[in-house]
Amino acid sequence: MNETRKWILHRISAVILAPLYLWLYFSFISLSTKNYSDAIYFFEKPFFEKLTIMLFFVGFFHAKISLNEIFEDYVHNKKIKDFANISTLILSIIIPLIILILLIYKI
């Protein structure tokens, strides 16, 4: 991915992410005052389920680009930097995939 495209996608993901994260974090705090069945009921709504999956994919995409930038600025050792970048890439794929599977098959 070239740097200009990365820069643009980073901004686009930020705009998508801001309302989604506000919404899910708000729901999370609200549901922390309620019980198990309320939380399950929340994720049974197909629209909420889709928004949550989208939040995880866009969120980890945004985080991956940001972390690459931070590692580039502050990590001096190339081996450590490469390792950090690869770990970030793997996590940013695995965690959203787990969420996708959980929400579609389990909850």
């Binding site: 901004r11 930020a14 705009v15 801001a18 994260y21 506000l22 899910l24 974090y25 708000f26 999370f28 705090i29 609200s30 922390s32 005052t33 019980n35 198990y36 939380a39 399950i40 994720f43 949550t52 939040l55 995880f56 969120g59 980890f60 985080a63 940001s66 972390l67 931070i70 580039e72 600025d73 502050y74 001096h76 190339k78 965690i95 787990i98 969420i99 959980l102 929400l103 389990k106 909850i107």
Partner: protein
Amino acid sequence: MSDSKNPLSPHLQIYRWHISSLLSITHRISGVINLFGLILIFFWLLLLSLGESNYELFLLITNSFFGKFILIGFTWSMSFHILSGIRHLAWDLGYGFEIKTANTSGIIVIISSLILTVIFWLFARGLI
């Protein structure tokens, strides 16, 4: 490798503190904290899928004093990063570069992130 010749940022301690530099580094730090917030939500969903007894433990932790302290911290971090992000987007569109405007918008971001945290928390917890 050509990229090994890229210059690295000087250490943060070298600079004299300004609102602009304070907000810049706080934007990065709050972004990383938000990533941990998202990972917490990931574990929340994971526990939810493991059944009711595991979830009860989670509720117990989130409603403890320590749990609330952490969650309020995440609320502030989210508020700050979003508001500061809007400031960055304005710059990207070419607005607000004058030193005076940038300092004012910086102060507005700090104050409104605190206000948003309080309002968000009170509404989300059903206190108002």
